[in-house]
């Protein structure tokens, strides 16, 4: 009896401490971000604002998904899909910037950077592709 309740108590305390630690880490993160953002140049602030605020229009995403399913979808689905699509864009753009830099070139990103970025992401399995062979780019 008592050994079981002791073990259960221990686990409960561990979970609570982990939560508190995570809370503290989050607070540290927030503070660090504030310090970082307050030191941004105007150009950096502009870019950061675009990074935070840019989003896909919910109506267009909803229409797109519904045109594929033929049924209606919930608001949460639109929120989730828009969110991961933005992350996806970020992954492609960041990879393309890497390619651009590696090739000794500079922004604006050109189609060849985008295509090479997609090639690399695909080889790492970061781009879903359920078709065997699809020619997107010539």
């Amino acid at each position: 009896f008592t050994s079981q309740s002791c073990a259960a108590k221990k686990i409960k305390i561990e979970i609570k401490e982990k939560k508190e630690k995570k809370h503290k880490v989050d607070e540290d993160e927030i503070q660090k971000m504030q310090i970082l953002v307050s030191s941004f140049s105007e150009e950096q602030l502009n870019r950061y604002e675009m990074y935070r605020r840019s989003a896909f229009p919910k109506a267009a995403i909803k229409r797109l998904i519904q045109s594929i399913t033929g049924t209606s979808v919930s608001q949460n689905v639109v929120i989730a899909m828009s969110g991961i699509s933005k992350v996806f864009v970020g992954e492609v753009v960041e990879e393309a910037l890497d390619v651009c830099e590696k090739w000794g070139e500079s922004p604006p990103l050109q189609p060849k950077h985008m295509r090479e970025a997609v090639r690399r992401l695909k080889s790492r399995g970061q781009i879903p592709n359920s078709k065997y062979k699809k020619i997107i780019f010539h």
């Binding site: 797109l64 864009v89 010539h138």
Partner: protein, 146 residues
């Protein structure tokens, strides 16, 4: 190619698709802006005549993620096609699992469980949405009497 080139809408729509490869080597910068407004967008032959859905938003996004303040239209178009393909794939996959023929949040979460960034982002977004809904509800109830 000139680095100071700011606008990207310079591809003529009559050019065949493979000309996109050589666009970067052009020394000339023809002042055609029509590509940005064109419903067809002739640089990517694969998608045909679909109207551009996210041009404005994608430009802002690309800048936010590190591209130039004025990204090339051709690059924006490529990204848009990529995003639409991504959403299409995810939707088809979601329809094939869980409750067939429907897309539910649980299915999406399941599909991206192996991708830490996307998984964390979806969790955050849904949590925030719940909090907002709760806050709005509490606000409305507080105002009910007045």
């Amino acid at each position: 190619m000139s680095v100071s080139r700011a606008r990207g809408g310079s591809c003529r729509t009559e050019k065949p698709v493979f000309a996109v490869e050589t666009m970067a080597d052009e020394e000339e910068d023809p002042p055609f802006e029509e590509d940005t407004e064109e419903a067809g967008g002739g640089t990517d032959g694969g998608q045909g005549k679909r109207k551009r859905l996210f041009s404005k938003e994608l430009r802002c996004m690309m800048y936010g993620f590190g591209d130039d303040q004025n990204p090339y239209t051709e690059s924006v178009d490529i990204l848009e096609d990529l995003v639409i393909e991504f959403i299409t794939e995810m939707t088809h996959k979601a329809m094939s699992i869980g409750r067939q023929g429907r897309v539910q949040v649980e299915d999406i979460v399941f599909l991206i469980r192996k991708d830490p960034r996307k998984f964390a982002r979806v969790k955050d977004l849904l949590t925030m949405n719940e909090e907002l809904k709760r806050a709005r509800k509490a606000f409305d109830e507080a105002n009910y009497g007045s």
